[in-house]
Symmetry: C2
Subunit: 121 residues, 2 copies
């Protein structure tokens, strides 16, 4: 939080490789941005959310249909949709008593594709 790691030496390498470390440090993005990036990917790190997203790839669905499709509780689906909504990945649309959710991001497909490419190598 306060320190950038420059103040403590753990072994002799740090002295030997000081130039390398400093060069890398200068090119690192802001701490906050890397944290946000991790938070973003954390959303994809749960199979329930992955399934919900994949279902919405096809078309928008209401909460209880998602629950029915994925064999989940309505409450669990609603909780996960909340997470996805906060990450600005899905958006809701009310139609009578139902809430229909659809994808709200064009990067997801590209990210999933790269992920699958990695897994299928």
């Amino acid at each position: 939080m306060s320190s950038s790691g420059k103040d403590q030496v753990q072994c002799d390498c740090n002295v030997i490789h000081e130039e390398v470390v400093n060069r890398v440090r200068d090119k690192m993005p802001e701490e906050e941005q890397l944290y946000d990036l991790a938070e973003f990917f954390k959303v994809f790190g749960d199979s329930s959310r992955i399934k919900i997203i994949w279902a919405l790839f096809e078309e928008e669905m209401c909460v209880c249909d998602i629950a029915y499709l994925l064999n989940m509780t309505q409450s669990a689906v609603s909780h996960q949709l909340r997470v996805l909504k906060q990450a600005r990945l899905v958006k809701p649309r009310r139609e009578g008593k139902n809430m229909f959710y659809s994808l709200d991001d064009e990067h997801i497909a590209a990210i999933f594709k790269e992920g699958l490419n990695h897994l299928n190598e």
Copy 2:
């Protein structure tokens, strides 16, 4: 595990939207593949690992230099490198007493780029 969710109706929507649900179900990938995808993204869902990966974008580094750069314990770095190695994202190279790690995947940059694009919208 056994059920596909087809055997339980949670509300009237399921009957009304049965065609939609069935169509989406047919297009969903294997359960296992979606699980693996979540496991893969879970690796990116930690800021320590994100930082390590980003550092290795620049050039290969040895364990204690990474620890020094990121202000982490050698043990913590080693544990995280193990996770990254098991996900086939980094590969080790021994040079004397040091282990140098480098990125072992060409998809990471694309995935990070899309993630940042999403965050900066």
